[in-house]
Amino acid sequence: MKAFRTSSLVLLLALTVVACGKKETPAPAAPPATQATQPAAPAGVTVAAVNLGNALGADKRVTAPSTSFARNDTIYAVVETLGSGNTTLKARWTFHKGDNVATVNETSQTIAANGPAVNEFHVSMPGGWPAGDYQVEIFANDKSAGASKFTIQ
């Protein structure tokens, strides 16, 4: 009888614990980290503008942007960049005749930018350029940042 009473007491105690045990309530959902998404800061260096000309000023910008040049001109492609970091800029100059394309020149420079920078590439042709249609395409870390067409008269 005493054993029965003891086991009943243990059972009752166990039932009481189960009954009183509160179900774990889920934590309220965390609020979004930010209500308004902030625009991401520009990563690394980005190309802001490309201008062509046949002369540079002291600030390395073209003195008179143009897309038409004379046979004896030196042609400058000025690439304005924003942002900071190490970036390899490349200028690929090509000549276009119908469906044919000839590579004129490829030049690269790696810069350690610490804010806006002006970067120039130039090409010249001793004896004069063949007349026709040309293009310069600018790459930043091997990704095209745009192309500019020009003609030699």
Binding site: N100, A102, N119, M125
Partner: protein, 74 residues
């Protein structure tokens, strides 16, 4: 693509510069004066490169292939 009737551009001269520091990787046979001649057109301007890289270079006569030197704007 046939390039037979395309002009010859092998004589094209090119160059590049920046208002930012450039990064130049030293190759075998380089010296600061050679780099200054190539970058500035004047070998005598080598101290400018040395000054910009004092954190890396202790002796202007000792540069090694693979070193990445800051080249200040001209």
């Amino acid at each position: 693509m046939a390039d037979n009737d395309m002009p010859d551009f092998s004589g094209v001269k090119s160059g590049a510069s920046s208002t930012a520091n450039k990064i130049y990787t030293v190759v075998s046979g380089d010296s600061l004066s050679k780099i200054a001649k190539r970058e500035y057109g004047d070998a005598k301007l080598w101290p400018r490169i040395f000054e910009a890289n004092k954190d890396l270079l202790k002796d202007p006569n000792k540069i090694f292939p693979g070193q990445k030197l800051k080249i200040p704007p001209k």
